[in-house]
């Protein structure tokens, strides 16, 4: 498994190929299509990430020390965003996830989604993923 930093680096390079927002967003939307989809039985209120304008369902499971996420959203840009996170965090150690920096999102040019604004909720997703990781380390 590649390290988080390596995957982030790779994503940064991928996004750098596009010099306009359109390319970046097309690519982001594409990422959403590759997202490991959440099992329908988890698409309930219990698994909803609060603080997003669109609905995001998120589930985490562990395989030993390693955490695996699946997710879905009713908005495709949001789905791309959560896919981005899953790509970086999936298969990583719970502890590392809990301390992940994730500032690469700013560097790939999606800073607007990191604002404290409650409307987009990337911040909420990150928080939720870290919480899951923390919870799994405690088992």
């Amino acid at each position: 498994m590649a390290s988080m930093v390596e995957i982030e680096k790779e994503l940064e390079e991928d996004f750098a190929l596009f010099d306009d927002w359109e390319g970046k967003y097309d690519y982001l939307i594409g990422l959403g299509k590759d997202l490991p989809l959440i099992d329908d039985k988890y698409k309930t209120d219990e698994y909803i990430v609060r603080g997003c304008q669109s609905r995001v369902w998120l589930h985490a499971a562990n395989n030993g020390d390693f955490v695996f996420y699946s997710a879905d959203s009713d908005a495709i840009i949001t789905k791309g965003l959560v896919a981005l996170l899953v790509k970086v965090l999936n298969g990583q150690k719970a502890e590392e996830i809990a301390h992940a920096d994730l500032s690469f999102i700013d560097r790939i040019g999606l800073k607007e989604h990191l604002s404290p604004n409650r409307s987009n909720g990337l911040v909420s997703m990150i928080k939720q993923m870290k919480l899951y990781a923390l919870a799994l380390t405690k088992h």
Binding site: W21, I29, Q53, S54, D74, A75, T78, S119, N120
Partner: protein, 418 residues
């Protein structure tokens, strides 16, 4: 022969809208590399330089605490503060300045009502009537009041155009109904409610009526005496004024009877530990140092709006609304939410199964600012069974080019998101 239509067009045409637009410095800025198209006016309006200058003037020339200072600055500040109250009174045609209470906004004003009037007059078993259309600020204070008092909140239903269903409204009125609280204009969908008829029906049954005017005051001439409402509330920031200031209008007889809400400086006549005597109207409801800048400059915003003329503003905004509606309707897959016969300049829509958040994000990238989501009207969204809408709301300083840009951006978004 000149038709009414022609008269109205010529009315709005008499204003130099291009020049008006130049009053708004923010409209010159770029967003994501493109000139800003601001269509989030229902959330908050932009400010003309006359208003911004008035703030600078206030802080550079006569900033001081009001109402008690002997010195010149305080006298000048007080004078401007009370002069603004007079402007508000005239703006809504209240009968007295004592009926005009400065609050921190519509939400603050409604909470004042719910706490002061509500806790005195609402008893167990009473009913308060609101509508399915209301903004959270005209729902939650009444919910909280009803919960505390074991009273019941009743909801006037709407039809699929977003209009109140009149028969159902009448059926809901009863001996237990103590207050009706409805929006003059819905912020999410734009329908203008038949407030005058509502008030008439209510008064025949001795029911008081509060009208939430947050979306009406910026867009049309308000006449509280003609309407005969008991209470009327609105926010400065939605009508070219500063943030943090709003108005509670109330008929003097009700305000006189109501107990104070917040306690503190300004709202008292005399204080002793044994007995405190409250001040007269309007000060009884204005505890603490007021938002002096906000109150004074709200007066400048009113001068600005009345300088253009509320009728001209209404006409112009309807022109823009009609154009945008027509253009948008020409696109495939558009679904307008809220198609009331009488409607203000709010255009709520969905396209195919594109999520409003996705649409809003792409529009922003194109420099077009719209609002997306539930617009603080979750019960309304639940009724339509939609996650939210995309809402473009127009102000008189928008123009035809803004609409072109909106349409272009929506087209681009459809292409990217479908």
């Amino acid at each position: 022969m000149v038709t009414t239509k022609e008269i109205s067009t010529s009315l709005s045409a008499s204003v130099d809208w291009k020049k008006v637009r130049e009053d708004f410095p923010i409209l010159k800025r770029e967003v994501n590399g493109k000139p800003l198209v601001y269509l989030d006016n229902a959330a908050s309006s932009q400010k003309p330089k006359q208003v911004i200058d008035a703030i600078v003037h206030y802080y550079s020339h006569y900033n001081a605490n009001v109402h008690r200072g002997v010195h010149t600055l305080s006298q000048e500040g007080t004078h401007a503060f009370e002069a603004s109250r007079l402007l508000v009174k005239e703006f809504i045609n209240a009968s007295k300045t004592e009926e005009v209470i400065f609050t921190k906004g519509t939400t603050g004003a409604i909470n004042l009502l719910a706490y002061s009037w509500g806790r005195k007059y609402i008893q167990e078993g009473d009913e308060i009537l609101i509508s399915q259309l209301e903004h959270h600020s005209n729902i939650v204070p009444w919910q909280m009041l009803c919960e505390g008092k074991k009273a019941t909140l009743k909801i006037v239903p709407i039809n699929e155009k977003g209009e109140l269903i009149w028969d159902k409204f009448l059926q809901l009125l009863s001996d237990k109904t103590k207050l009706i609280s409805v929006a003059h204009i819905s912020n999410a969908l734009g329908p203008v409610n038949p407030v005058k008829n509502i008030i008439q029906e209510a008064h025949q049954r001795n029911i008081l009526v509060h009208i939430d005017g947050a979306q009406a005051a910026p867009h049309q001439k308000i006449d509280v005496q003609d309407m005969d409402c008991d209470f009327y509330t609105f926010s400065g920031h939605k009508m070219c004024g500063p943030t943090g200031i709003g108005i509670l209008y109330g008929k003097e007889k009700w305000l006189e009877e109501m107990p104070p809400f917040e306690g503190g400086g300004e709202m008292i006549k005399t204080v002793s530990f044994e007995k405190t005597i409250y001040n007269d109207l309007p000060f009884k409801f204005e505890a603490g140092t007021p938002h002096i800048e906000g109150a004074i400059v709200l007066g400048d915003a009113i001068k600005y709006l009345t300088g253009i003329g509320l009728e001209n503003i209404s006409k112009r905004e309807h022109e823009l609304l009609h154009l945008a509606t027509k253009e948008l309707n020409s696109l495939d897959g558009i679904r307008l939410i809220g198609t009331a016969a009488e409607k203000s300049s709010v255009l709520s829509f969905l396209v195919g199964d594109i999520h409003p958040f996705d649409m809003g994000t792409i529009l922003d990238k194109m420099g077009v600012a719209v609002r997306t989501g539930h617009h603080c009207c979750q019960p309304l969204m639940a009724w339509f069974d939609i996650p939210g809408t995309v809402r473009a709301s127009f102000s008189f300083y928008n123009n035809e080019n803004d609409i072109d840009r909106l349409i272009e951006a929506v087209k681009k978004a459809i292409k990217m998101l479908s």
